[in-house]
């Protein structure tokens, strides 16, 4: 019979995991896990529910860093001011599944799950987020871009858990967006594109561009070919359209029920263009 442990502080959470290692499963929101348990696909000896660990919960905004605890729910993120100031986060949370799933689903659970179709990951990639990983040996941080190191695979040792995620959310001169295509509302993304840009004061040219995509590869990815094609370039529609055509360089979609690889490549180009244009519009638009 499975043992259910409920540590109340970081140290005991880390210790329990160290004791049980691969016979244990970390429970954050527990939603993805419960599906696997229900189907009899998983049968862990120990479940470690970290949702009562204070150090892992909540959103802290410092002068230049935003820190989101692993057990923070989508709903908490949605109602936090950071979702308005960093619009790509708010856009993304708004289209994740549905209200009930967002109430229970956690940021840390999602990131640990490493599904490349998750909507929350591209915005975080555009924020250059780093993952805070804990174990009895202490904390280490890994850039999110490196943390997902393969299909449904994350850079976590058996005694490590995701404790939070941190990014720079201070710069107010960035604008951002998340654009998603799905078969039905609330469904998994066919393609999801986050964009985050900074322009010259006169809004004529891009000074910084970050683009990331979901559901088009083994992991969510930054589209550096598009980014490179835009930095220093004018913010007009034609330039964006030309740059968006580079989107296929960094992605590797598959044929599946949501669409063929070719269609997803086309959608990626279209959504990159739309997402950047919307972001530009948020800066006040092309002059």
């Amino acid at each position: 019979m499975t043992e259910y442990l409920k540590p109340v502080d970081r140290e005991s959470a880390r210790r329990y995991l160290d004791e049980h290692r691969d016979s244990a499963k970390i429970v954050a929101g527990g939603q993805s896990l419960s599906l696997l348990l229900r189907q009899g696909l998983l049968d862990p000896d120990v479940m470690i529910d970290i949702s009562d660990v204070d150090e892992f919960s909540g959103i802290e905004t410092g002068p230049d860093r935003v820190s989101i605890g692993a057990v923070t729910t989508y709903e908490q993120l949605e109602s936090h001011p950071v979702s308005s100031t960093v619009e790509t986060l708010g856009d993304s949370v708004d289209v994740i599944a549905d209200r009930q799933v967002r109430t229970a689903g956690t940021i840390g659970g999602a990131i640990s799950h490493a599904d490349p179709s998750l909507d929350i990951v591209p915005p975080l990639l555009c924020l250059d987020a780093t993952v805070r990983i804990g174990s009895v040996d202490g904390e280490r941080t890994v850039p999110l871009e490196e943390f997902h190191d393969g299909y449904m695979a994350a850079d976590l040792a058996q005694n490590e858990l995701v404790e939070g995620i941190t990014f720079d959310g201070s710069a107010s001169d960035w604008e951002s967006n998340y654009a998603k295509h799905s078969r039905v509302s609330g469904g998994w993304a066919t393609v999801g594109i986050a964009s985050r840009v900074r322009t010259t004061d006169d809004r004529d040219a891009f000074t910084d561009v970050r683009i990331a995509a979901a559901a088009v590869g083994d992991t969510a990815v930054r589209l550096s070919s598009v980014e490179d094609a835009l930095i220093g370039e004018p913010t007009d529609r034609e330039t964006v359209a030309d740059a968006a055509s580079n989107a296929t360089a960094d992605i590797d979609p598959l044929d599946d029920l949501s669409g063929s690889a070719e269609y997803k490549k086309h959608l990626a180009r279209t959504l990159v263009e739309r997402s950047i244009n919307r972001t530009v519009d948020r800066t006040g638009g092309v002059r």
Partner: protein, 762 residues
């Protein structure tokens, strides 16, 4: 004398708005309070839980089943391999989700564990997954022609087509007039091929039956809307006397759309076999994947249509060729698909010369079955798409062309002597169009957006039309607490028939609807109704029987009140359950019970009809297409539907809105995808059902009343007939928006995008 008196009163009561008014659903309070109990909520104390070993092979011989590892598990009471089931089960599986073996255990988890422990060997057999290939002489045999399983044996047939040799579930052909000459006389002849998808009902409450044996009588507790047919077929399959099958309805029936009309070979006979073996009640509930693959879907159907018209748009000839996929067993009704697709063009349009050939084939696919306007939905999609193409070829306006050829009341169809009864199709078109125009939007001015509109006409008969006469009986009992209980063959699966029955009783007797209880499908030995709530017959024929009984009750109460109050029966008025004389003296109806009544006053009513009235609809859709992504958004939908007479307009709107939902899914979203018979999306994460976000922003219902002479108060069916025009209206709008005709729904955004971006696009 008394008849005149009653009719006067009926007029007066209608002014009081009982029949014809929006009486809240009588079961709504239980449902919103969470008190309604459905079939899957029932778990008797001594029940055992079944789990079934389902085949992941689409066609195989069962060589060996070793049940001993399962029997060794604590709590397992019974394990049976398919060859040891009762009745006609053999040693072969014929589709993914077919049954290999079954377990009964003290708990559901134990049963599941035991199923996983069963060892078995199958020898795969060649399989066939396309209905057209299945009828070819080289195809593997799924079943012999003219298979002897009930439901199949609807009629004898002779196959006229030498290419159709094997796996034939059913065959129909019909020739009217001189089709060759009709096509010769035409100025334009247009041909088109269309295919309709394999769609699942996706009822939320999955199939669940509790089987138990009372001596040698099988008692099944579950929602089965058509008792008589189910009893006959289950008994036939189990090879027992039909009298030995009883069906008990759960307190509330969950939605069906045809999915709960009839037995499923993977459900009731399996539970019955286990229950017989252990002599205890056995509960078998399907999980979501089984619900997709082990019940039934809408028959996937292939159509070839050819139509000839004169230069001014008169149809001179039509040819309809149909191949439909019955799947691995005649679970459903290939026969009905063929018959409905044969007759429907003639029910809607004047077609002097007509030829039809249709074949239903057994394949190793998930069985086809009844689903909201079976056959008509498929045919109407093909026909209404085709007629838009015909109109376009001849340069005719879509509505004018249809109007020129539509039937009307009294028209005698060329294939039957029976003239068309009530026919509101022209009103539907006119009123629907007016409403649709009111909802027209301003252009967006966005070059990435293209818009279009579409119209489709459709029809479906009320009553199954399976027999030449449909009849029903009803019993009303008045008890000492003033309550009237209606015993009928109706099952309220959400369509609202219980409320309609209460309205009719209240309307005729003057007893408030709140004091009318409706028993779900009362025991069938008290009165006859073999069909139950299928084919939108409930209001039409069961409602008529209830009305007959209610009139009898009213008359009896008048007579009794007259003698109690010492006035003439004519002078009695019943209001709010109180029978009153003109001088103001009143007596509650429950006090009119006499000692000879026993506990209750029982009256009987009946109704029969040889008519099969056709309900018509004209539906309009406006769609918007994002040309860059191919996304299709249904902006506006107007369902203009001839219901005969609206007994409860709000509930009718609910039926229409539900049909719009299912039609949008048929056109744009839903299909159970099979790859060589194996499901690719048998779960609700991959199989798209739509949410409120995919419904049109503007939905409007126009209720047209044509006063059907053979129906109670002029009513005819609405639930199924409202389905067929929905998908073609959307598909026609999509063609109008994109300039491209899509002939094989569901059409997803990728298909639209691919077509719009293809270089060889006309």
């Amino acid at each position: 004398m008394s008849r005149l008196r009653r009719d006067e009163r009926t007029v007066q009561r209608q002014s009081e708005r009982v029949v014809g008014s929006d009486v809240p659903k009588i079961d709504a309070e239980d449902k919103v309070a969470g008190d309604a109990r459905f079939g899957s909520d029932l778990e008797p104390d001594d029940v055992l839980y079944a789990a079934v070993l389902y085949s992941t092979r689409t066609h195989a011989e069962i060589d060996d089943v070793d049940l001993s590892p399962a029997m060794a598990i604590d709590g397992v009471e019974c394990a049976l391999a398919r060859p040891d089931f009762m009745g006609k089960f053999d040693d072969r599986v014929r589709h993914y989700g077919d049954v290999i073996a079954a377990i009964a255990a003290t708990g559901p988890e134990t049963a599941d564990r035991a199923v996983n422990a069963i060892d078995y060997d199958l020898t795969p057999l060649d399989a066939v997954h396309d209905a057209r290939e299945a009828v070819d002489g080289d195809a593997p045999t799924v079943h012999p022609n003219n298979l002897d399983i009930a439901q199949h044996a609807q009629h004898d047939f002779t196959i006229e087509n030498e290419n159709y040799t094997k796996n034939i579930d059913d065959y129909h052909e019909l020739t009217v007039g001189d089709p060759d000459r009709g096509f010769e006389e035409a100025d334009h002849v247009v041909t088109g091929e269309y295919t309709t998808p394999r769609v699942s009902h996706c009822n939320l409450d999955t199939h669940c039956t509790i089987a138990e044996w009372d001596d040698d009588t099988l008692v099944l507790t579950e929602t089965l809307a058509s008792h008589g047919r189910s009893q006959r077929e289950i008994a036939g399959f189990l090879e027992i006397d039909p009298e030995r099958v009883k069906i008990k309805e759960p307190p509330s029936a969950s939605s069906s759309f045809g999915g709960r009309s009839l037995r499923k070979l993977t459900v009731e006979p399996v539970a019955a076999s286990l229950a017989r073996e252990v002599d205890r009640p056995v509960r078998l509930q399907l999980d979501r994947e089984r619900e997709f693959v082990s019940t039934a879907t809408r028959h996937q159907t292939q159509f070839t249509l050819e139509t000839g018209i004169t230069a001014d748009g008169e149809i001179t000839a039509m040819s309809v060729d149909v191949v439909t996929d019955t799947g691995a067993y005649p679970n459903g009704v290939g026969h009905v698909v063929l018959k409905n697709s044969r007759d429907r063009p003639l029910d809607v349009y004047r077609i002097p010369n007509y030829e039809y050939e249709g074949v239903a084939a057994f394949t190793n696919n998930v069985p086809g079955g009844e689903y909201r306007a079976i056959g008509s939905t498929q045919l109407t999609f093909a026909l209404e798409s085709h007629l838009d193409e015909v109109a376009a070829r001849a340069g005719l306006d879509r509505i004018t062309f249809r109007r020129k050829n539509l039937v009307e009341e009294g028209y005698v169809r060329p294939h039957t002597e029976v003239p068309i009864g009530s026919c509101g199709v022209d009103d539907c078109l006119e009123r629907g169009l007016r409403r649709f125009e009111e909802l027209e939007r301003d252009e967006t001015g966005d070059p990435r957006i293209t818009r279009g509109w579409g119209v489709a006409v459709g029809a479906h008969p009320t009553t199954s039309g399976a027999t030449s006469e449909d009849s029903s009986e009803a019993i009303l009992t008045l008890t000492a607490d003033g309550t009237v209980t209606a015993h009928t063959g109706a099952v309220d699966q959400g369509q609202g028939i219980d409320t309609v029955i209460a309205q009719i009783v209240g309307h005729e007797t003057g007893i408030p609807t709140s004091r009318v209880d409706v028993e779900p499908f009362s025991t069938t030995d008290r009165f006859a109704d073999h069909l139950g709530s299928i084919a939108s017959r409930s209001t039409y024929i069961i409602g008529a029987a209830v009305r007959d009984a209610a009139i009898a009750l009213e008359r009896e109460l008048h007579d009794r009140a007259a003698s109690a109050l010492d006035v003439s029966a004519d002078a009695i008025e019943i209001q709010d359950g109180v029978a009153a004389s003109p001088n103001g003296e009143g007596i509650p109806v429950e006090q009119l019970l006499s000692p000879t009544d026993g506990d209750e006053l029982e009256v009987y009513g009946s109704a029969s009809s040889t008519e099969t009235p056709v309900s018509y609809g004209a539906h309009f859709a406006a769609v918007e297409v994002d040309v860059e992504t191919g996304d299709v958004d249904v902006l506006t939908f107007v369902a203009s539907q001839d219901v005969g007479h609206a007994i409860n307009p709000k509930m009718i709107e609910g039926q229409l809105e539900g049909a719009i939902q299912h039609g949008i899914e048929f056109a744009l979203y839903s299909e159970l995808q099979l790859d060589r018979g194996m499901p690719k999306n048998a779960n609700l994460a991959d199989y798209p059902v739509i949410s409120p976000k995919e419904m049109p922003e503007d939905v409007a219902c126009e209720i047209v009343e044509s006063n059907e002479q053979s129906g109670p108060y002029g009513a005819k069916g609405v639930g199924t007939p409202s389905m067929p025009p929905v998908a073609p209206a959307i598909m026609n709008a999509l063609a109008d928006a994109t300039g491209n005709r899509f002939r094989d729904p569901p059409i997803d955004s990728e298909t639209v995008y691919t077509e719009l971006s293809s270089e060889d696009r006309r």
